[in-house]
Amino acid sequence: MNRIRFRQIRIPLHVLYGIPSLVYLFIFFYIPMIMIVVYSFWKGGPLYKVIRVFTLENYVRFFVDELSRNVLVWTNLLALLIFFIVILIAYPIAYFLARLMKGESGLKIILLILMPLEMNYLIRIFAWRNILGENGLINNTLMYLGVIDQPLTMLFHSIYAIIIVAVHNGLPYAIFPLYITLRSIPKSLYDAAMDLGSNRISVFFRITLPLSMPGIAIAFLFIYVPMIGEFAIPALVGGKTYLLGNLITRSFLEIGNWPFASAATMNVLILSLIAIFVVFKLTGMRWLYR
């Protein structure tokens, strides 16, 4: 007869070590998440008014209100567009470094590419302002050369500036995972495919591309997910462009409608969790600690 004896339950030592972290994350991450969920179902108004009544109106607003819906849709489309541009630029580079350079010399260039990631990202946004801005490098050079006589406004305060800065930010996060996955494809696979009479285009689409999917998935995680919550890039170089991150920031700090802001944050959270879940299903979690 098995009896449950509570006194004798022993927690293994290796679990014990993790408990402080788990408790910390529970208090300062998971409880705040639950609070966001709760807030998002409360009734809100401007100037930090919160009525503790259950309502779905904060979520409904994203379907009914045209402005909110457009912000949600556009942010997603923009994040996806940026992801595709980054992959298009990063793939040839990663391919070159991983498969066409001899030995480990590609790795040194990879480190060169990763180095600016250690720089503050506000500095990098600022750096691009100096190039794209109204009084920036491109406009001044063009005016100096007499190509234009009015500063181009297309570059600065526009969606193009956001794309350029975001691509700059995202490139290292795509090149490195792609480099790792492309490098791990054994050369014998290519030899076998060539022996069996396949040409270089079909080798690319049937071997290289499918086998580099994990790298693309990881890049997606590091580019798409931060982008749907981005607010500093649009605020500093985007002009009137208004993304989900700006909507959240404004609703929280300026308008003061916390329940609506929470619902907007829930959009970011749910989209990120879906992306994380799908990517982990595809690639597993091993790459995180390999």
């Binding site: 972290s21 580079i93 250690e118 009084n135 995680l221 749907i228 600690y289």
Partner: protein
């Protein structure tokens, strides 16, 4: 074959130069330029922006604050994260446990910032450097856990077994064998945590209240054109000091490191 290789090489170097490095180099060049606009031809060499930035009391205060926050965050994340990495190594195949630790690391920082703001407001902790630190530790714990766990997993378990066989107890083995072996990964995770916390803008923006750190000083200064050269000077200092620190990390990366350690 050789032509396509040459095209790819040119493409690679063009992207690295123009899309990654030129903007940063320009910041440094213009920080020495005697004009508040970033215009070629350069107006003349000056150090006045550097002098001014060090005369700006708000900037000095923000540096001190950033260092305090980054040090406290690093201490907290190491104290909590290093022990947890031992759990992580054993329990990494448990998706619930691994997900619980890893998710705060991958969630956009905006979500952490916003939820911490609501949390601190609701339980009535006034916003200050303390709340900033508490919220930075959230994403730093998984960072430390993943970097240290990567090293732990790659360790040869025979070292520990040999030590136990020779009569050392668990604590002696840990201090004499395990710790020296994983020490570089602890140092590197501490360095990354410090840098990230020092640089963190998004989470700090929500949880700081009326205080100031370096990224917030930049954010504020960028909105006033007169102060923009000061931002250039401060940025250049950070780029140069940052590069020196990064060089140290690179040394480690080249020798031995996991996927994530290299990416961060």
């Amino acid at each position: 074959m050789n032509i396509s290789k040459a095209i790819l090489a040119v493409f690679t170097w063009t992207v690295i130069t123009f899309l990654i490095y030129v903007p940063l180099v320009l910041v440094i060049i213009f920080s020495f330029n005697d004009s508040i606009y970033f215009v070629f031809p350069l107006k003349g060499f000056t150090l006045k922006w550097y002098v001014r930035v060090f005369e700006d009391p708000l900037f000095l205060k923000s540096v001190v604050n950033s260092i305090i926050v980054a040090l406290a965050t690093t201490a907290g994340a190491i104290l909590l994260g290093v022990p947890a990495s031992f759990s992580f190594v054993r329990l990494r195949r448990n998706n619930v446990f691994a997900g619980f630790i890893v998710i705060p690391f991958i969630i956009p920082w905006l979500v952490i910032g916003v939820s911490c703001l609501i949390f601190f407001y609701t339980i009535g902790i006034p916003l200050s450097l303390l709340t900033v630190t508490l919220s930075h530790v959230v994403y730093s714990i998984p960072l430390v856990v993943l970097v240290v766990a990567a090293r732990l997993i790659s360790l040869n378990p025979n070292y520990e077994k040999a030590s136990m066989d020779l009569g050392a107890d668990q604590i002696q083995t840990f201090i004499n064998i395990t710790l020296p072996l994983i020490y570089p990964s602890i140092a590197i995770s501490a360095l990354i945590t410090f840098l990230w916390s020092f640089d963190n803008f998004i989470i700090t923006f929500f949880t700081i209240g009326s205080d100031i750190t370096v990224p917030l000083w930049m954010w504020g200064s960028l909105r006033r054109p007169v102060n923009v050269p000061l931002v250039a000077a401060a940025s250049s200092l950070i780029i140069i000091i940052g590069s020196a620190i990064v060089y140290l990390i690179e040394e480690y990366r080249l020798r031995k490191s996991g996927f994530l350690t290299t990416l961060l």
